[in-house]
């Protein structure tokens, strides 16, 4: 077998909750990046049509012309729950969009390296192998752990990887190139941040109105207005009654995400109103045309990564904060591993790009664990957003990696069991 050599370029596929990333092994960044959330419409069979098939035909809309294009009665869904694929039905269509439509490749001609989260189940990874071998006829396959890829991409065999994704924040102890499963901790912290930001924006404050997060797809015209003045816009009445709840939720969530990435931040030294007031306020305009300037409140949602104290009621079921996640992960590792892990913390994931996160996490951890803490946060945004993809890209581009691929012949011969044996 001679896969992964210079002649046959491998493909790297990293399907996350927020985005799916695909590209050629050896490249510095993925060529295709699109939303993993997808739109679908259900078409009842035309009258007179009969058939044994009870399920109604469904049309999927994926990628750049997917959920972001408004369609009558289109619903939006996402195959992930808690960072794991919980619904495999749309996965073949997502893979096909990534490899065939976006990259314009024939997957039957390229080995494909796929990523998986540290807490993936054996059944899930085997299903992924099955889809690629059986439905896409890939000649070779490998599934690599995102925790290990992120640690390696930072040059570390041993590291404590803090990965903040779209819905899940996780802390993964990696020791000598393997994830220590008993130390893996995670929580839905980013979802709480998102919910908090959504709530905060829609509620009025003494200095601004409550914000209508109506997406631009439902705005027909808007007039320029003064800062803080009520927006003056015409909604697309023709669309309102054909808009589904799931699409509206998805579209509003996108507005919140945009606001978070453009305006929100976290204070490096912990919350203090005085300190927040010294930071420059940021202007922001919403699709309705309403625009305002965000002062200290733009630092409130980010506090959730570090403490819950400012939330109305303290609730023990709230997702664990980053410092608590780190603490729990370390407590589940052997004591002599704690120092090497603390001095090799790797911060990654799109959620870690929230302004100030690296500095604050560093400060909080030094306060709890002392000066041995050393945090490594990948220099540029691309590396932080696509750390796992880039790691996979480098690995799969190595000529020597061909020994590790599971070939189609091996899959035929050994079946599912080979995935667990080969991809450790």
């Amino acid at each position: 077998m001679n896969y992964g050599g210079d002649e046959v370029q491998a493909l790297v596929l990293d399907i996350g909750t927020d985005t799916t990333r695909a590209g050629y092994a050896g490249d510095d960044a993925p060529k295709a990046v699109f939303s993993t959330s997808y739109g679908f419409t259900v078409h009842p069979p035309a009258e007179g049509e009969t058939g044994d098939d009870k399920s109604m035909p469904t049309k999927l809309y994926i990628g750049e012309n997917g959920p972001s294009i408004w369609r009558p009665r289109m619903e939006v869904s996402n195959p992930f729950t808690n960072g794991l694929i919980s619904d495999f039905a749309p996965i073949p269509a997502i893979v096909s969009h990534a490899l065939i439509h976006s990259l314009r490749t024939n997957p039957a001609e390229h080995p494909v390296l796929v990523t998986e989260p540290a807490w993936n189940t054996p059944a899930n990874r085997e299903r992924m192998a099955e889809i690629l071998f059986e439905e896409f006829q890939v000649p070779a396959f490998y599934i690599a752990n995102t925790g290990v890829l992120n640690a390696f991409a930072a040059g570390k065999g041993t590291a404590l990887v803090v990965d903040i994704g779209r819905n899940t924040a996780s802390v993964l102890p990696v020791v000598d190139g393997f994830v220590l499963r008993k130390g893996v901790t995670q929580s839905a912290l980013p979802m709480l941040l998102h919910a908090n930001a959504h709530h905060m924006l829609t509620k009025p404050t003494p200095t601004r109105l409550g914000i209508d997060l109506l997406p631009h797809q439902l705005v027909s015209q808007k007039q320029p207005v003064d800062v803080n003045a009520p927006p003056n816009y015409v909604p697309r009445q023709d669309r309102v009654s054909y808009t589904t709840d799931s699409w509206k939720l998805w579209a509003e969530a996108r507005e919140v995400d945009e606001w978070v990435s453009g305006v929100a931040g976290v204070l490096e030294q912990g919350w203090s109103e005085q300190h927040a007031l010294t930071k420059h306020p940021r202007p922001y305009e919403f699709p309705t045309g309403y625009h305002t300037v965000f002062g200290p409140e733009r630092f409130l949602p980010g506090e959730i990564y570090f403490n819950h104290a400012h939330l109305a009621a303290s609730n023990p079921t709230l997702p664990k904060t980053l410092p608590t996640l780190v603490q729990t992960a370390l407590a589940n590792c052997e004591p002599d591993l704690r120092t090497p892990l603390l001095s090799n913390i790797v911060l990654t994931g799109g959620g870690s790009l929230l302004q100030g996160t690296a500095e604050r996490l560093n400060n909080e951890l030094i306060r709890s664990f002392g000066p041995k803490v050393k945090l490594h946060a990948g220099g540029n945004i691309i590396e932080r957003r696509f750390g796992a993809w880039i790691g996979g890209s480098i690995l799969a581009s190595l000529g020597t990696f061909h020994q590790l691929w599971i070939s189609a012949e091996e899959w035929q011969e050994h079946g599912r069991a080979i995935v667990g044996q080969r991809c450790k």
Binding site: A144, N145, V148, L149, A151, F152, A153, A154, G155, K156, G157, T158, D176, G177, F178, P340, S343, N344, K374, H376, E383, I390, G391, I394, L395, L398, G399, T400, F401, H402, Q403, L404, C423, K424
Partner: protein, 137 residues
């Protein structure tokens, strides 16, 4: 997960020389230019620890084995073999990735118990290495 990179037999030969010959002080290893094999970059008999640190490039990954000699309080001189994984923050991400995923092959064939993972010069400074080496000696 590993890169599948091989270890050149000379790596082991030099290591045996250091272990048994008691002349070599340290060996620096690197990847060859095509990233297919781990090779010997340099050997040295210098007992000056600063010379060793000077042989670790500022923005390039390396591995090394060092025959570390130190004074244990009340127990005289001790020797300990140390394995260094040198991966400075300023090196290219590709090199970091290939080195990190290839380290196991070298370390397993040399079988050195104590590893020092270094990303900047403070982590390979004499004092911090001494602290790790003297623990449990």
């Amino acid at each position: 997960m590993s890169s599948g990179v091989a270890v050149n037999p000379a790596c082991m030969e030099k290591f045996q020389e250091l272990k048994l010959g008691k002349k070599l002080k340290y060996i620096v290893y690197k990847l060859n230019d095509t990233n297919t094999e781990i090779v010997v970059d340099k050997t040295s008999e210098s007992a000056n620890y600063d010379d060793f640190v000077a042989d670790l490039p500022e923005a390039q990954c390396r591995w090394a084995v060092y025959d570390f000699e130190f004074e244990k309080e009340g127990a005289g001189k001790r020797n300990k073999l140390l394995f260094f994984a040198w991966s400075p923050d300023d090196s290219k991400i590709k090199q970091k990735m290939v080195f990190a995923s290839s380290k196991d092959a070298l370390r397993r064939s040399l079988n050195v118990a104590l590893e020092i993972q270094g990303t900047d010069f403070s982590e390979v400074a004499y004092e911090s290495v001494f602290e790790k080496a003297s623990k449990g000696a």
